[in-house]
Amino acid sequence: MKKLILLSIAVLSIGAAAHAQTDITSTMTAGQAAQIVRIAVPFPELKPPAAPAPALVDTGKVREGFFGPLTRDIAYSGIFALAALPPSVPVTPELMKRVEAQFYLQLNVWTEGAEYVVEARLVDQTGAAQLKKRYRGPEAALARTAHTLANELMRTFNNRPGVFLSQIAFASNRSGNWEVWLMDWDGANQRQITRHGALSILPSWSPDNERMVYTSFARGTSDMYIINRRGGGRMRINSGLALNTSATFSPVSNDIAFVGSVRGNPDIYLIKDDGSNLRRLTTTNSIESTPEWSPNGRQIAFTSGRTGTPQIYVMDAEGTNERRISFEGNWNDDAVFSPDGEKVAYTSRVNGRFQIRIANLITNESSIIAGEGSNEQPTWSPDGQWIAFQSDRKGRKWQVFRMRADGSDLLQLTFDGENKEPDWSKKPE
C-alpha cells in the first residue's frame, strides 16, 4: 500500500476553472446535509501519478469526454456535493479542511498509444485511499469510464450503484422516420437502434437491459418486434391480433403484456416472448390500453375507457381484482410503477393540458408535477430518483426531458428532430 503524498500533486489544470462546481448542500436542510458527502474533485492531472513530466494529452477531450460527465454525475448523485475549489491550487489536507471536503478524488488521465488510462484515488482527510480504480479504453469509452467511476463512488458510500450507466430508449423522427433510439442517462451518445424506414415507436426495456420490445408499422400494419440493445437479433412477434401496441416485458418471466384488438375491441393480452401462449386479461367492450407491470410482476396497471373517460386501473397479473386508482381529471394514461412499487406516475389532464401526476398507492394521495406545455409518458429511473418524460414546452415539438421525482433539476435531453416515448432501462447498470 503506497501512501499518498498530497504535496506531490501538481497544480490544477486550467480546465478545472471552466467547470462550475455545484454546491448542493447549500440548499439542504440540516438533517439532509448530514447525509451529504462533500468531495473535492479537481481537474485530472494529465500524466501518470509518479511520472516526472506530463505526456501530451488533449485537455479538451478529457474535459468534454470524462471530467464533464463525471462531475455532473457526482453533482446529480443526491449523496455527494462538490467542494468549491479555488482554481489552480493543489489540494492539500489544509485546503480540504478549508473547503469542508471530507474526501478528495485524485484523478490522473494519460494516453498510452490510442488508449486513454484513467486512474482514480478517493482519499480521506487523513490521506488514506478509500477507493483505487484504474480504467483503460479508447477515447469513445471516456464517458462510460466517467459513469463507471461515479457508480463506484455511489457504491462506496451508498452500498448500491448509481444510475449513471443506465440507458433511456426513445422514439425519434430525426432520420426522417420515427425509429427507436438509445441515449445515456445524461442525453449523451444518442444512437439509432431500429432501421425499419417506417413508423416505429413505443420502445420498452427487458428487465435484463439487453432487449427492447416496440411497435413498428413496417408491414403496413402495427406489429410487435423485439430487438437487442445493439440493434441486432430483431424478431417479429406474431400475436394474430390487431394493434400490438404498448408492449412491455414482465420483470419476472418471459411474458409480454400488450394491447391486442379483435374486431375493434382493444384489450390487455399476455404473450410469451417467443410468440406462444396468447392469453386475454381484460374482457370488457370498452378500450383497454397501456399495460405496465409492477416491479414484482404481480400486478399490471392499465388504462380503461369503461366509465366514459380514460382512467388508470390496476389488476392482478392474472387479470383479476381490477380496481380504479385515478380519480381526478377526464383523461389519464401512461401509468408506470416506481421501482419500489409504492407509487404510480401517469399522464393526467389538468386544465386542458397534460401533466405528470404521481399517486401514492399506500396513502391514495396524488400530486401534479406542474410544467409548461403538455407533459406525457413518464418513466422512472431504476433507483426511483428520476423521471424522464416527453414535453412539447419548447415550440410544440416533442422533446425528452429528465427531472427528479419532485420536479427539480429539470434537464432537456434531446434536441434533434422530435423525440418522445422515453423508457428508462430497468437495471441500474
Partner: protein, 198 residues
C-alpha cells in the same frame, strides 16, 4: 416535348380567340346612372340585375384528346385522389374521444359502399385507417383509432361490402392530416380514412 409545346401554343391561341370578343364587350361598359344618395330614408328601386361575366368554357371540339368523364386512373395513388375528388369514396369523421358514427359519417360510408359495389370499384380492396387528434395521449389514441377504423369497417360490411375486402390499421395521433393546433385541424384529424388497395 415538342408536341406538347405545339399543343400548348395551339390551345393558347384558341383561348385567346375565344376571349377576345368577351374582352371587347368589357371595354365598352354602359356608364351607370348616378343616383343621388343624400336622403337615405327614401326607399329606392334597386338597380336592374347586372349580368355576371364568366369565361367561355373550352368546348370539347377544341381539345385534341377528348377525355370522357370517367376514365379511371390506373395508378393506385392517382385513383385514390380521383375517387376522393369525385366524392365516390369519402372518409368518416368522428366526435372527440368517440368511435360511433353520426349521420354525416354514415352518409360518407354509404356513398363509399355504393362505389365499392359498382362496376368501377368492385375490383378493389379497402384499407381503413383510424386516426385521432393530438389532444389525447398517444397510447390510448392508438386503441381509439383501432375502434374507429373497425366501426367504419363494420358499417361498410352491413352495407354489403365483403369483410374480407377490408383491412384496418390504427395510426392513433401519429399521422395527422392537419398540423394545426385548433378545432378545425382536430376535427379533420379524427377520422376513418378510406384507402383503395389492389
Amino acid at each position: 416535348m415538342k408536341k406538347i409545346t405545339q399543343l400548348t401554343l395551339t390551345s393558347l391561341a384558341l383561348v385567346l380567340l375565344i376571349l377576345t370578343p368577351a374582352c371587347r364587350t368589357k371595354k365598352t361598359p354602359v356608364k351607370p346612372e348616378v343616383i343621388p344618395t343624400a336622403t337615405m330614408d327614401v326607399p329606392r328601386v334597386p338597380d336592374p340585375p347586372m349580368p355576371v361575366e364568366t369565361t367561355v368554357p373550352d368546348e370539347p371540339d377544341f381539345v385534341e384528346q377528348s377525355p370522357t368523364e370517367d376514365v379511371i386512373p390506373s395508378d393506385i395513388e392517382a385513383l385514390n385522389r380521383w375517387v376522393r375528388d369525385k366524392g365516390y369514396v369519402r372518409d368518416a369523421f368522428y366526435n372527440y374521444d368517440e368511435a360511433t358514427l353520426d349521420d354525416a359519417a354514415q352518409a360518407a360510408l354509404s356513398a363509399s359502399a355504393t362505389w365499392l359495389k359498382g362496376k368501377d370499384g368492385a375490383g378493389y380492396s379497402l384499407l381503413v385507417e383510424g386516426h385521432c387528434d393530438e389532444r389525447g395521449t398517444e397510447q390510448y389514441n392508438l386503441a381509439l383509432g383501432d375502434k374507429r377504423a373497425n366501426s367504419a369497417k363494420d358499417y361498410l360490411v352491413t352495407l354489403g361490402i365483403d369483410a374480407g375486402r377490408i383491412r384496418t390499421v390504427s395510426y392513433g395521433e401519429e399521422r395527422p392530416f392537419e398540423e394545426g393546433h385548433d378545432d378545425s385541424s382536430w376535427s379533420q384529424n379524427r377520422r376513418a380514412h378510406l384507402v383503395l388497395v389492389r
